[in-house]
Each structure stands twice: as structure tokens, then as C-alpha cells.
């Protein structure tokens, strides 16, 4: 039996061929080393993310999240739900909170769920992958399997918004969360003093208001360079994609020369645990992290 077991909610962007598929690959490698068993919630659905608010309204969005809760509770009773995506985590946790505090919404949600043949009694705990790492294992346990510390590498820990606000990681401050810096240090690398660590990347508005979002992304990347970082590291799929894939467009627009790789914490941990470039899914980075590719091949 594995050391820890969870009901896994990977989310749409983590699926094969989707924008955060490299996140999933590296999380699987990391969990294998840490002896964490993640069982996918059967037939899970989209959380609706924040951006669906206008079309969805409140109850349809709650119903979508409640369906995942009911599927987890039925098929994986007693296990906490763990999401790797910041938006999945936030959408689910927010839904859990609202349903538990409002009996009218809970009754309506159950009436809707009945149409899908489901019923919700107890809502499981909803947690983010980094919460599990920090709270259920702790930094010391995370350090134990390290075979190859990332000595001398400098990372700007980009926490972003939705793994930090409004819930965040227990004991951390909204304005200056330290957990990502601590994870960077745990794998033997250096976390730079990065003043844009909790600045928004524009989120979904990178699609609908690209100029505004790219102005924010420019500030984030610029500050990362100024802090002396070689790479950015983040726990959120949308932060990762937004700060990585638009660097070329920002360069054209502003005459900058950005070319900074953006990694997931799970990729760093996989490499520190002795994983290969493939296990860390380094081939999934649009801006290739050459320094880490070399490190992995040694």
C-alpha cells in the first residue's frame, strides 16, 4: 500500500495533448518517488474555471463541481480530492464552501445531481497538490529522496493568484507566501528575491484582453530577470502557459529579448529525485530549459 492515497482531479488542461500535459507527467514521476497514490476520479468533469461566470451563473457551476464530489465520494470514499490545477482547486473549494454554508443551494444542487443519477451527502476535503506535499509530507520528507540537488541554479518562485488567494496554503501570507521559495531551496536551488511573486498573469483575459495581460506578463518576466533568476517556477498551469508562450509576442511588441524557461515545481522535484528529462517532461517546455536538460543528462 502506498504511503498516501488521494482522489485525483487532474483537470482539463492536464490531459494528454493539452496545454499542461507536461505538468501531469512530472507530477506522476514525483508522486511515484514519494510513494503517493493518486487515483483519478472516474468520469470527472470541468470545474468551469473562474471565466465561465457570465454564461454559467451560480447553480450550474456548483452542480458541475458537485458532480465531481459525488463521483469521488461514491468511488473513492474517505479520500481527499487533490487537484494539480489552481483553477480546479479554487473552483472546487469555493463550491464546497458555498454548498456547506447554504442549505438552499445544497438542496437545489442535489435536485440537479439527481438528473445525473447522483447524490451528495458529504463533500470530501479539496486540496491542492502543494498542500499535500507541504502539510501531509513536509519539507524534510520531500528532501529525503533527493539524489541530485539543483546546486547553483536560480529560480524566481512565481506563486501567482489562485494557489495563493483567496484560500492559499495554510500558514502563508497572501502578500508574501514563502512555500514556493522553500520548495526551490528544498531541491537545492536558490530562490531569488522576486517582487512580482504574487502578481496576476492576466488569467483568462490573456485571450480576451491580450494587451492588458501581456503588459502584466512583461512586468513579471522583467522582474524575474532583474532578480537574477535564470528560470521561473510556478504551481499553476495558466500562470505557466501565460508567462511562457507569450514571451515572443511581448518581445515583438516591446523590443525586449525575453527567453526565460517557465517550469513547474514538480519538474524540479522530479529532476532532483534523479528523474530523466522525459520523466520531468522537459520536452513539454515551449522555451526549452537547456540548463536543466544538460543537468538531467549527467
Amino acid at each position: 500500500m502506498a504511503r498516501k492515497e488521494y482522489a485525483f482531479y487532474p483537470g482539463c488542461s492536464s490531459q494528454k495533448g493539452a496545454s499542461a500535459s507536461n505538468y501531469l507527467t512530472s507530477v506522476e514521476s514525483m508522486c511515484k518517488t514519494l510513494d503517493i497514490k493518486m487515483t483519478e476520479i472516474p468520469d470527472w468533469n470541468c470545474c468551469g474555471a473562474s471565466i465561465s461566470y457570465a454564461e454559467a451563473g451560480e447553480l450550474p457551476r456548483l452542480a458541475m463541481n458537485a458532480r465531481n464530489f459525488a463521483l469521488a465520494e461514491t468511488n473513492l470514499p474517505g479520500q481527499d480530492i487533490v487537484a494539480t490545477c489552481a483553477a480546479c482547486w479554487l473552483g472546487s473549494r469555493e463550491s464546497k464552501e458555498r454548498l456547506e454554508h447554504n442549505s438552499v443551494l445544497m438542496a437545489d444542487t442535489n435536485e440537479a445531481l439527481k438528473e445525473a443519477g447522483l447524490n451528495l451527502k458529504v463533500i470530501p476535503e479539496v486540496r491542492h497538490m502543494v498542500e499535500v506535499l507541504i502539510e501531509d509530507l513536509g519539507y524534510d520528507e520531500l528532501a529525503k529522496p533527493i539524489k541530485k540537488p539543483l546546486d547553483g541554479m536560480k529560480f524566481a518562485g512565481y506563486v501567482g493568484c489562485q494557489t495563493n488567494r483567496p484560500f492559499g496554503i495554510s500558514g502563508e501570507s497572501f502578500e508574501n507566501p514563502m512555500y514556493l521559495d522553500k520548495l526551490v531551496e528544498t531541491v537545492g536551488a536558490e530562490a531569488t528575491k522576486f517582487d512580482q511573486k504574487v502578481t496576476c498573469c492576466g488569467g483568462a483575459l490573456a485571450f480576451s484582453e491580450p494587451d492588458k495581460a501581456q503588459a502584466q506578463i512583461k512586468d513579471i518576466i522583467e522582474a524575474a530577470y532583474d532578480s537574477g533568476a535564470e528560470m521561473l517556477v510556478t504551481p499553476c498551469p495558466l500562470c505557466q502557459a501565460n508567462t511562457e508562450v507569450y514571451q515572443g509576442q511581448i518581445n515583438k511588441k516591446y523590443g525586449t529579448k525575453f527567453n526565460m524557461p517557465v517550469l513547474y515545481y514538480s519538474q524540479l522535484m522530479t529532476l532532483a529525485y534523479g528523474g530523466t528529462a522525459k520523466e520531468a517532461a522537459l520536452d513539454g517546455n515551449v522555451i526549452r530549459a537547456r540548463k536543466l536538460e544538460e543537468f538531467a543528462s549527467k
Binding site: D43, N45, L59, P60, M64, D108, G117, P166, G248, V286
Partner: protein
């Protein structure tokens, strides 16, 4: 005036605050705003062009009964859901949710600004996600670029081709998903029935019949 808008305007007469309290998600928190302005100073998009009224101003306008100005405003649609205002508000007003709530209400009764890009994104995203239960990123991107017709779509896609090619190369964008492939839930029928029921119950609870 749309039917739903007329119906609501008549029901609430001159009490726009009450209308927002009952109709917009988390609207009952609006009166708790003490006009300190921390939300406005914390908003990352408030410093770009396009904002008519920052949150605290909107809240005062609601209390002052400025129905048209609030519902037709672009402001709520500038919310990036970063929750900065939400965690900093000294009165614990869930500002992010109220911004979404006012926007959703304005859209629902047909008073939101026309051709608002974030509103279009919201609709496109939800329709995409609920069609099969899971987001199809290729189709989502296509719908977003081709909203103004095929020529404009090709132009936009050309401008974005470096971004797209990078993602395809990194196996993070699968063009095959455009051809009906892609990920989906097994119980799509159940999901659709559930969502129809949820919509029906929400309309009933809020007294919306139109």
C-alpha cells in the same frame, strides 16, 4: 428593453440596491462597502485603459441607483479573478464574486455592453466545457479567433502561429482534437440533464420567468 430587463426594472422600481442584492451573486454584500478604495488600488487591470469605474465606485453607484451606468459598464468585465481585492478588503466583502455577479446579471437581462470580448470568452468557454464535460482547447481557440468571420480569424491565427506551433511541438496542443477527437466525459447526457435542471432551479429561485 429586453423582456427580462423590463420585468426586473418594474419589479424593483427605484431600488437598484435591492435588485442587486437579490439578483446578483453575493450582491447582498454591496452595502458592507465602506468606500476605502483598497480594492481599486489592488486591481491589476485598473491601471490599464478600459475601466470606467473601479469596484468601490460601482458599489456607491449601486447605492445611488445608477442602474443604467452600472449595468452597461465595461468595468466588471475587466476582472481577472486574481482575488487581490477579495483578500485585502477590510470588510471582507467578496469583491471578485460581486464583480462576476453584476456582470452575469447584466448579461442575463440583456444590458451588458455589446461585443464585450471577455463576455464572449465566458460564453465560449462554458459552452465548450459543457458540450462534452471537458474543455477542448483546440476548438476553444478556434471559436475565439474566428468570432469575427473567416478572414479575421485567419489573420488572428497567423499572428498567433508562433505561439501555436510552439505548443504543438511541445505536445501541448493537439490539432487532431479539432476533428471530433479530444477528451470527453462518458455521461454527457446526465451532465446536460443536470445543467438544464440547475438552470431551471436558479431561474425559479430568482423569480426570473422570461
Amino acid at each position: 428593453m429586453s423582456d427580462m430587463n423590463q420585468q426586473m426594472a418594474e419589479r424593483y422600481r427605484n431600488n437598484f440596491l435591492k435588485e442587486i442584492e437579490e439578483q446578483a451573486e453575493m450582491g447582498d454584500w454591496v452595502k458592507m462597502c465602506m468606500q476605502c478604495g483598497v480594492c481599486s488600488g489592488s486591481c491589476p487591470t485598473n491601471f490599464h485603459a478600459g475601466w470606467d469605474h473601479p469596484p468601490q465606485e460601482l458599489f456607491m453607484m449601486i447605492r445611488a441607483g445608477k442602474r443604467d451606468e452600472v449595468l452597461e459598464s465595461n468595468s466588471m468585465w475587466m476582472c481577472v479573478s486574481c482575488y487581490n481585492c477579495y483578500v485585502r478588503c477590510p470588510r471582507k466583502v467578496p469583491i471578485t464574486h460581486i464583480m462576476h455577479g453584476i456582470a452575469e446579471y447584466a448579461y442575463r437581462i440583456g444590458r451588458a455592453p455589446k461585443n464585450q470580448p471577455t463576455q464572449f470568452l465566458s460564453k465560449t468557454f462554458w459552452d465548450n466545457a459543457t458540450k462534452t464535460g471537458r474543455v477542448n482547447e483546440v476548438k476553444l481557440t478556434q471559436s475565439l479567433y474566428f468570432k469575427n468571420g473567416i478572414m479575421d480569424g485567419i489573420k488572428q491565427a497567423m499572428a498567433m502561429q508562433d505561439v501555436a506551433l510552439g505548443l504543438v511541438k511541445a505536445k501541448r496542443l493537439n490539432p487532431m482534437e479539432a476533428l471530433g477527437g479530444g477528451h470527453k466525459c462518458k455521461d454527457i447526457k446526465g451532465i446536460h440533464a443536470m445543467l438544464d435542471k440547475a438552470r431551471e432551479l436558479e431561474n425559479k429561485r430568482k423569480g426570473r420567468t422570461a
